[in-house]
Amino acid sequence: MQAQPAPASAHVALDVNNIEVIYDHVILVLKGVSLSVPQGGIVALLGANGAGKSTTLKAISNLLRAERGDVTKGTIEFAGRRIDRLTPNAVVRLGVCQVMEGRHCFAHLSVEENLLAGAFTRGRAKREIAETLERVYAYFPRLKVRRRSLAGYTSGGEQQMTAIGRALMAKPSMILLDEPSMGLAPQIVEEIFEIVRDLNARERVSFLLAEQNTTIALRYASYGYILENGRVVMDGAAAALAANEDVKEFYLGLSSGARKSFRDIKHYRRRKRWLA
């Protein structure tokens, strides 16, 4: 375990440096989180409920102030520029777009209007926006079929696609993807992760994805961070994490030995903390 996380590959796009987040002036949620996402990389942010994954992503997009949260320490840099004091609008303009947990589609807008709303920061460049729209439809053909339906009436998978497509409409170079697998059938989850990989390869979009579904996240990411109680307790290449005994036991539900008997389960379930 290194103190300063340093993913192996090239250029650092997003650099979160030792941030602390406090809600309502008293509740300390993040206690010094550092992570970085290389340009063109897919990085997974793992951890249980309440570990601080969403808060980290919201801190990056600067959505915390609306929830009475505040980044009280540390810095966030994107492409070498401090972004932790910018408005959410300015962060999107710089190329960092977030797909929030639970999709958050605009329920009373049609799918196409949802997508177009995502292009708000691009102003009146009508032709370019239409071009991006066609590209999004190429990645998500299902959205093209459903473009006239109200987003509120589409299925969970379609909503997730709408949300990702909407983020793409801003032409981001980095997407913060919060819990994309939530509430979706395994098959749809697989489909969405395939598209993420595709977008990463073909459009050179970097991804920082917060996931509880460790198995699938580590399959698609190249690097991972594990959060526990508002701290990064472990980080490493995805393959190394997936092979780690503790990760296997606590997050993947696998153990090294033979199958355990139910008698041992209680003890086995007791969680080990990497840091007190």
Binding site: A66, T87, V99, L109, G118, M169
Partner: protein, 297 residues
């Protein structure tokens, strides 16, 4: 029969006046999910400011843009001082804030311009149109007709604005989900500023027409009460709903007064719209044109 039509048309036209007030509510409700209790006061504020300016020697065409500027600035100020600190708070908090706002505006307008009742002349007489009276034998007020035309133009412009423009789309997006709108880079503050400014402008139009009809006085704030059944009937977030709702309310209250009134001793115009609105609520809680409440299980 002729009398029936006269009552009907008179009712429809006065319904348009209700729609004008309802429109201001709809605008703000659509974009921020807030029922703006201060809308009636904004109507009053606009009318009083306009009259005040003309009393200081400005002509109609000078006072109009000047009041418009005042209303737009007022809208922006409200966004800044009232809404911005309340982002992401429960909607009931925002609602309460608009109640406070309404008292503030009432007081402010009267401190600046005084409390006396004043007349407002917009140059259109409230008298029957000659040629219609001659040809069809119907008495239709010129004033009502002009008001209806103005409302129609306003509605068409707003409907276009909401459904076709980039800002309009962003407005609806914000109404649906503040957080998601922020996440994709729609600047809430800017959007809310625009909405309140537009609502201020609509209040100005309503204020001029209502002021010209009833005189500019404190009671003008109560026109908001007339808009309530219109909103319930038409749906809180529908521009066409505000119009159709206004027409239905206007026509039915006048018809009810004339034909049902005598049976119960008259005076039912005042409460009939509310009964109608309640009946609609029973069957369509979101109103005739309101957005269906989408709930996925």
């Amino acid at each position: 029969m002729q009398f029936f039509f006269e009552v009907l048309i008179g009712g429809l036209l006065s319904g348009v006046m209700y729609s004008l007030v309802a429109l201001g509510f709809v605008l703000i409700y659509k974009a921020s999910g807030v029922f703006n209790f201060a809308q009636g006061t904004m109507v009053f504020f606009a009318a009083l400011t306009f009259v005040g300016l003309t009393e200081h020697g400005l002509s109609f065409w000078m006072a109009l843009p000047a009041t418009l500027v005042v209303m737009v600035l007022l809208g922006l100020a409200i966004e800044r001082a009232v809404l911005r600190p309340l982002v992401n708070q429960p909607q009931i908090s925002l609602f309460m804030a608009t109640i406070g706002l309404s008292f503030l505006l009432e007081g402010l307008a009267q401190i600046v311009w005084g409390t006396s009742v004043r007349g407002l002349d917009i140059g259109v007489a409230d008298e029957p149109i000659g040629w219609i009276a001659d040809r069809f034998g119907l008495n239709i007020s010129k004033f009502d007709l002009v008001a209806a035309l103005i409302a129609a133009v306003l509605v068409a412009a707003l409907a276009f604005f909401f459904s076709r423009t980039r800002i309009g789309r962003a407005l609806r997006a914000v109404a649906d989900d503040h957080q998601a709108a922020l996440a994709v880079g729609i600047p809430l503050q800017q959007i809310w500023g625009i909405v309140w400014a537009v609502a201020g402008a609509v209040a100005l139009v309503a204020g001029l027409l209502w002021g010209a009809r009833n005189g500019v006085q404190f009671a003008l704030t109560f026109v908001a009460l007339k808009a309530l059944p219109v909103l319930m009937l038409g749906g809180l977030e529908s521009v066409p709903g505000a119009i159709v709702g206004g027409l239905i309310i206007g026509a039915s209250e006048k018809l009810a007064e004339v034909y049902l009134g005598p049976m119960v001793g008259g005076g039912i115009e005042g409460w009939f719209p509310y009964v109608l609105a309640l009946v609609v609520l029973l069957f369509r809680p979101e109103g005739l044109f309101g957005e269906k409440i989408i709930r996925r299980v």
